[in-house]
């Protein structure tokens, strides 16, 4: 070959080698890039491997219960606006208007979001319990802590089911719990194929709730040793208080009394004899500003910034015209017109009448970023529930009942003392006291339905009696469309 050809060939070969090399390098793929690990989400197989992560999962269960659509916000608001103490001011379909005037349908976002939030919580609890049994218990090792975690998970599950019953199912008293209740989900779900589950009866759901609470009572500690934990996590007295409420809704006065007696002494001063020293706070305002008084048996905390209820979920947003959006004012024909509720009563400070004569609930100080803790159970409720159960069971002017009623009234109004002449009057006084004491705390609606009373008319919304299908929330379409055993 000539030199020219030799050089040309060399040139070609060099260029070819370079290019082939480049191409071959390009052709090699990166195995690590093909199997990436997310940096912003925690793979689920990590969460039962360390004690810390297991403890965090328990916090997570409460956090799911606390979401703005459930006990941290709307779950409480819905229970109140169904009642007769609030008038809708804005006519806005996304802030419970249709729930307030009982025209909400099953396809409404509010009906679905609250249902879904509660069942999300329940599934988290189920997965947690199964994961603990499968290996988490061994990682935690400490038997007391294991029992505590199991107990807390069952408590949260029971509270979620109970919250659902209060809105979506017929009251127990209607037919001793024979009405269709809720699908009872007790196994954790992570895959497709489990949509269909028929409803258990209301009675069966109550049975499951009480079974969970009994287990919880045995497992949770007496005292967490920390003021915040004693309000945000379930301790023994909290479980007992919830049991008391559950029995009250069943109309089982005997068991209400049995439970209450564990945390309420026979006579004043009324203070829990064991466990956390729950008692009435001297100034009720402290309960809504200091959050961790012994009066709060269980509350849902909000701390601002990265822990907020979310837009249009905050209680103060609904109730305050200046620091909120003034969605609901107080009904002049509701409890605020009660003659027996004196103007000197400390609780009147929560009723703020403006220049136009419109009254607003100022119980939650509110204002962005809305750090108002949402009460779930207060000691005052524990006392009044016991009082009511005693009055109904003995059908008499029960002395302890009267004493309990007066204890609650005297905390805010020392000048009024109840001396009812009959059992009926005593019961009415107790119910009135509940209406005054728990204004805006999500108890008015359940107090009406558990006794099969009629929702009184208010503003432009008519009265709704127990036979009206709107008495309870409609079945959410997120369920009925996909659960074919409904």
């Amino acid at each position: 070959m000539s030199n020219f050809k030799k050089n040309a060939m060399k040139k070609y070969i060099y260029q070819l080698i370079i290019l082939s090399g480049v191409a071959l390098a390009a052709g090699s793929c990166s195995k690590s890039r093909l199997n990436p690990v997310s940096s912003t989400d925690i793979p689920s197989n990590f969460v039962f491997l360390t004690k810390d992560r297991i403890a965090h999962q328990v916090n997570g269960l409460y956090a799911q219960l606390k979401v703005g659509n459930l006990l941290g916000g709307r779950g409480v608001i819905y229970n109140d606006v169904r009642g007769d103490n609030f008038i809708n001011m804005t006519g806005n379909g996304v802030t419970a208007l249709l729930i307030w005037n009982f025209s909400v349908t099953g396809s409404d976002a509010e009906i679905n979001n609250t249902w879904n939030a509660a069942y999300n919580t329940i599934n988290q609890c189920n997965l947690f319990l199964e994961g603990m049994t499968a290996g988490g218990d061994t990682v935690v090792k400490d038997a007391a802590l294991v029992a505590q975690y199991h107990g807390e998970a069952k408590f949260v599950r029971a509270l979620a089911y109970f919250s659902l019953l209060q809105l979506y199912a017929q009251p127990y008293s209607k037919d001793n719990g024979a009405s269709p209740g809720l699908p009872l989900r007790l196994t954790g779900l992570t895959a497709n194929g489990h949509n269909d589950l028929p409803r258990s009866s209301v009675a069966e759901v109550y049975t499951q709730i009480l079974s969970d609470l009994n287990d919880a009572e045995a497992g949770v500690p007496d005292d967490y040793g920390d003021a915040n934990m004693n309000v945000t996590h379930a301790h023994k007295n909290a479980v007992v208080a919830l049991k008391e409420r559950v029995y009250l809704h069943k109309g089982d006065w005997d068991n209400v009394i049995t439970e209450a007696n564990k945390i309420v002494p026979a006579t004043a001063p009324f203070k829990a004899p064991s466990g956390v020293a729950n008692a009435l706070a001297a100034d009720l305002k402290d309960v809504f500003t200091k959050y961790t008084t012994p009066e709060s048996v269980l509350s849902m905390p909000w701390t601002g910034a990265n822990e907020q209820p979310g837009t249009q979920n905050q209680l103060a947003y609904y109730y305050l015209p200046d620091l909120g959006n003034g969605e609901y004012s107080l009904n002049d024909d509701g409890i605020i017109s009660d003659a027996g509720w004196k103007s000197t009563d400390a609780r009147r400070a929560f009723v703020d009448t403006d220049g136009d004569g419109v009254s607003w609930l100022r119980k939650y100080p509110g204002g962005d970023p809305y750090v108002d803790w949402v009460p779930v159970i207060r000691y005052a409720d524990v006392l009044l529930m016991l009082a009511e159960a005693r009055a109904r069971k003995t059908n008499s002017v029960d002395a302890q009942a009267v004493e309990l009623l007066n204890a609650v009234r005297h905390r805010s109004d020392p000048t009024t003392t109840f001396a009812p002449a009959s059992a009926t009057e005593l019961i009415n006084d107790i119910l009135h006291e509940r209406d005054i004491e728990f204004l805006g705390e999500g108890l008015r609606g359940p107090d009406i339905t558990r006794l099969l009373q009629t929702f009184p008319a208010k503003g432009s919304a008519g009265a709704i009696d127990p036979s009206n299908p709107a008495y309870i929330f409609p079945a959410p379409t997120s369920e009925t469309q996909y659960n074919h055993s409904w």
Partner: protein, 1044 residues
């Protein structure tokens, strides 16, 4: 992959060693204008040796001195020349017929149009360059069969709905793969502000050479797992050899809203509302007039505050040219465009640099680089982008429904406000919860600023004439800065104000290496073989700052003094996003043709994608196609019919491709996430995932016929296609009680098809010296049918903007069928809206007592239940669509008209529900027809204050669904080319002045402003919904094209 390349290297080396005793002749084939002639065939006369020239006209062949070389090819006259002493031989040929020699861009290469066996439609960049649009996709409507472009609303730079051959996915995106200079680019709305931002706007339409739309399996299978929705390849301009050319294109224009709803004035409003109050038991609202500063009753036309005449202008300058070795194209552009909504603007500065250089006879390099800076602004929500339909501050709705008897200012000049809402003035208890738009327009601001770099660099080697080795490294880096300020005075920012800054970084690199072998055997067998590998890595990072409660109203951005800070939410993640995905592939293509009459092709691609779980990451995609050029047969050319039909080509293809567009990067995996509980960490189950997840597959069949008659006087292309899609990822809805996170599990279960015809006809009815008329008509008839979802999922409902369930997808219907309660007008006896329940019973609704009455018996009936009584009633996907383009030349004048049309579909006119609502909302003049006395026959029910059921707000009703069929004069332009004698004195080689209009005329029965609308953007399941959106405006421009 490695093995294939090694084999190729060995092959090449052995051919290098087998040189015979001839010399290497190289040269270029150009036409009489000096333009390169691509892909001509050069043969050595009397031998079986032949090569194909490349796209640039360059060839190299071994021959002896004294031998003759023959150049031939489609559309050129045959030329011969003898090899002399030197080793260079150039040819200058005469073109016979330009269209067939055209080059079409296919995946990873270019081919002569007459060799392509797949279905590809080409749109020349010149045909869209002067359109007053923000991004090139908005100008594609009506230009290519199979392509459907819907401009969703009048917000500037919102991504239009882009579909090729129907909607091809349910849960993933149906948006085609857009490849710009070899780099698949980001698509969709990337903005996190109130403005819209389409990343395709980074390419100045004036810089585009051609857009090639790949539709069938033969054309798209080489893109494998991303090809199911079609592929659009954008090629930017490259320089041409010769004198340096400078071009300036500019236009200025205005845009106005038109066909707006006619609303009640103040007196009519008060009369109607007070009538409604009188008809409602217990209603205490009163609607009373307020006197303005001039002493007269306030009568506000709110549209005047929201809409204006938008002024826009655009300037593009480019310089291109080159010599034997180097060609370049350098361009710069600036445009600022205003929309019909006040404060909504788009501003772009862009720069492009494309360079190709031949280092030696066998080695060349090049770079394509584009940089663009875009600023998209909108002070406050237009209520028109996906998710915004029910924004309390959405300007589209506010312009219509605010009471006309109140104004934005009090008499003392201060803003009329009441907390976060507008003040009611003298109205009593109207419950107005909507904002004062003037406060928001004056004080809020939001914008998305993009800095976008797109480009590639390549090395190419042709070691021997038949082999081309090429490696390309490309990048697409988009940095997007979002700014958002909400005033504390009114609206969503009340009372503390809010400022959000979000930064998003989209980064992609792609590395492709290919080897192409082309050879002509025995003068008759042409073989082309391509093999290649590719890796693509994409990273997305997004984070931001969300500040609330301003310390002093002086601060209007996130860097001022604020009380509270949280991390901004990005793509629904409160912590921001930081994610990546990776795609690795090997592919190949084989083309064979015999005598340029019989063509066979096949392609194959294997993709591995990171989002799928181990064991499901890889997939194989392939296609096979054939074509037969009957008109090239001897018997045809000699027959009588051959004189009339000069091209007749039959074509068929079949293959399987995939779709992964829009799937989350970690969709297959189960995750936990964290949230706080009283400041402590809480861990919760956040994603169930699915380890079996993989791509959707689409089996595409295409059969076509191309013909031309009377020497290309008439040309046509008829194709029948079917896309059978299965393994559709369906987010299987879980019943609420399962508690599964997001209540869905994604599974590959669904199936759907799109089937139809595409017909394109072109003609040159008149082509005289003084007068020419070209026409081109295309129509696509498409049938979309969902055939299966999942055994446990009979239907999937779709909720517009998380609030109104407007559409449903179920087997036996087209995707996203409009899902409403059937209504049957108004009962003349009572004025009640008539609902029809699932049994077919007609029920009249009385809002006063919230009960339904059976029309036959008068008794109270079971209430209408949306779950039981709603029905999938109306098809939202057009059954046919297309365009008709006519261009006329008379002397120096030219006239072009493009009409587009869509038909066979309905639109849910949700805005009509808004403007017939009986709360404080203003109504359209339709309500003046309302029922007032027994026996009156009308379509508007009795007005009862507060009634939001009879008008269709509580649940969508069939009364508000209207036929959407339309014909639009989408573009019309008149131009005048100035005489060259005049221009040459100024050194200008050509100049044209023109006037054009866009969206000029709409012929339709639809009652809303524009039936071309999509409140749900590109969402596959929510097409055909018009809810409170701002409609497209009408644009007029005047422009100038100058060449130096």
């Amino acid at each position: 992959m490695r093995k294939l390349l090694t084999l190729l290297a060995v092959l090449v080396l052995s051919s290098v060693l087998a040189f015979a005793q001839t010399k290497l002749i190289t040269g270029r084939v150009t036409d009489q204008q000096g333009q390169p002639v691509p892909f001509s065939t050069i043969r050595v006369k009397g031998t079986k040796k032949g090569v194909s020239a490349d796209a640039d006209g360059s060839y190299s062949i071994r021959a002896n001195s004294g031998e003759t070389l023959i150049v031939s090819g489609a559309g050129i006259e045959v030329k011969e020349a003898t090899v002399g002493v030197g080793s260079t031989l150039d040819f200058v040929i005469t073109r016979r017929n330009s269209s067939l020699a055209e080059v079409v861009v296919v995946g990873y290469g270019v081919q002569r149009k007459s060799d392509v066996t797949g279905n590809i439609a080409t749109v020349k960049g010149a045909s869209i360059a002067d359109n007053p649009v923000q991004s090139f996709d908005a100008a594609l409507g009506g230009k290519a069969a199979g392509v459907q472009i819907t401009s969703a609303n009048g917000v500037v730079n919102n991504p239009p709905v882009f579909r090729i051959r129907g909607t091809n996915s349910i849960s993933l995106s149906s948006y085609p793969l857009i490849v710009i200079d070899g780099v698949p680019t980001f698509t969709g709305d990337v903005s996190m502000s109130e403005a819209a931002s389409n990343p395709l706007a980074s390419i100045n339409p004036a810089d585009i050479e051609s857009l090639d739309v790949l539709k069938d399996a033969a054309a798209t299978a080489i893109y494998g797992s991303r090809a199911a929705n079609g592929v659009v390849i954008i090629t930017t301009k490259h320089g041409k050899r010769g004198k340096t050319k400078v071009t300036y294109d500019g236009w200025v224009g205005q845009t106005k809203a038109f066909r707006l709803w006619k609303m009640l004035d103040a007196d009519q409003y008060m009369m109607i509302k007070n009538e409604g109050v009188a008809n409602k038991t217990g209603a205490t609202a009163k609607f009373l007039p307020t006197n303005g500063p001039d002493g007269k009753e306030i009568n506000t036309n709110w549209k005047d505050y929201v809409y204006h005449t938008g002024i826009s202008h655009s300037h593009s300058l480019n310089v291109s040219g080159g010599n034997e070795a180097t060609t370049y194209y350098i361009a710069a552009g600036y445009t600022r465009q205003e929309g019909i909504v006040v404060t909504n603007t788009f501003e772009r500065k862009n720069f492009r640099f494309n360079l190709d250089h031949k280092v030696s006879k066998i080695f060349s390099i090049g770079v394509n680089a584009g940089y663009s800076n875009e600023l998209n602004k909108a002070a406050t929500s237009t209520g028109s982008l996906p998710g915004q339909a029910y924004s309390t501050g959405g300007l589209g709705r506010i312009a219509l429904i605010l009471p006309p008897n109140i104004g934005p200012f009090n008499n003392d000049g201060s803003y009329n406000v009441n907390g976060a809402a507008i003040g009611p003035m003298n109205n009593v208890k109207p419950g107005i919860s909507y904002y004062n738009p003037v406060v928001l327009i004056d004080n809020n601001h939001s914008s998305t600023e993009n800095n976008h770099i797109q480009g590639n660099a390549y090395l190419q080697l042709k070691p021997i004439p038949d082999i081309t080795l090429r490696t390309v490294y490309g990048v697409d880096n988009l940095n997007s800065d979002n700014d958002f300020y909400l005033t504390p005075l009114n609206g969503d920012g009340y009372p503390g104000g809010e400022a959000i800054n979000t930064f998003l970084k989209y980064k992609r690199w792609i590395w492709t290496s290919t080897a192409q072998y082309d050879h002509i055997f025995a003068d008759r067998h042409t073989v082309g073989f391509l093999v290649g590998t590719e890796q693509q890595n994409t990273t997305q990072i997004g984070f931001g700052l969300d500040r609330t409660n301003v310390n002093d109203a002086y601060y209007t951005n996130a860097q001022g003094g604020w009380t509270d800070n949280v991390s901004a939410t990005v793509n629904n993640n409160t912590n921001g996003i930081n994610t990546q995905n990776y795609l690795v592939s090997g592919f190949g293509r084989l083309n064979y043709d015999f005598d340029k009459k019989y063509f066979v092709s096949g392609s194959f691609r294997r993709d591995g994608y990171s989002a799928f779980a181990p064991g499901r990451k890889y997939g194989n995609f392939w296609s096979a196609s054939v074509a037969y050029d009957i008109a090239k047969e001897g018997f045809w050319a000699n027959s009588g019919i051959g004189k009339i039909v000069n091209t007749l080509r039959l074509r068929g293809s079949y293959g399987t491709v995939g779709n992964i567009s829009g799937i989350a990067d970690f969709a297959s995996y189960p995750f936990h996430a964290t949230k706080l509980y009283d400041g402590s960490t809480g861990l919760y189950f956040s994603q169930a995932g699915n380890k079996s997840l993989t791509w959707e597959t689409s089996k595409k069949t295409d059969v076509g016929l191309q013909f031309s008659l009377w020497n290309d006087l008439v040309t046509g292309d008829v194709a029948w296609y079917k896309n059978s899609i299965d393994g559709l990822i369906i987010n299987i809805p879980q019943a609420g009680s399962t508690g599964i996170p997001s209540l869905t599990i994604p599974m590959n279960v669904g199936s759907m098809y799109n089937r139809g015809w595409e017909i394109t006809l072109g003609a040159r009815p008149v082509s005289g010296k003084d007068f020419r008329w070209n026409t081109s008509f295309n129509i696509t008839l498409n049938k979309n049918m969902v055939t299966a979802l999942a055994p446990t999922v009979p239907s999937i409902t779709y909720t517009t903007s998380s609030l109104e369930q407007t559409s449903i997808t179920l087997p036996g219907y087209s995707i996203g069928t409009i899902y409403v309660l059937p209504t049957a007008g108004v009962d003349p006896a009572t004025g009640r809206r008539i609902f029809v329940n699932a049994n077919g019973d007609k029920l009249g609704y009385n809002f006063d007592v919230k009960k339904y009455y059976d029309l036959k018996t008068g008794a109270v009936a079971k209430s209408i239940d949306p779950v039981k009584d709603k029905r999938p009633m109306f098809n939202a996907i057009p059954k046919y669509y297309g365009g008709w383009e006519n261009t006329f030349h008379y002397g120096a004048f030219d006239l072009g008209i493009l009409a587009t049309y869509e038909g066979g579909f309905y639109v849910y006119n949700g805005t009509q529900a808004s403007i017939r609502d009986n709360r404080f909302w203003n109504s359209s003049v339709d309500v003046l027809r309302r029922w007032t006395h027994a026996g009156q026959v009308t379509d508007i029910p009795r007005i009862v204050y507060g009634d939001n059921v009879s008008n269709g707000s509580a649940n969508p009703i069939s009364e508000n669904v209207q036929k959407g069929d339309f014909v639009k004069i989408r573009n019309a332009s008149i131009g005048y080319t100035l005489p060259t004698k005049l221009l040459s004195k100024a050194g200008i080689s050509n100049a044209r002045v023109y006037v054009s209009g866009q969206n000029l005329v709409i012929i339709t029965k639809y009652k809303g402003p524009d039936p071309e609308v999509s409140t749900n953007g590109n969402d596959t399941q929510g097409q055909g919904v018009d809810r409170n959106s701002v409609a497209n405006g009408r644009t007029l421009t005047i422009g100038l094209n100058i060449g130096f």
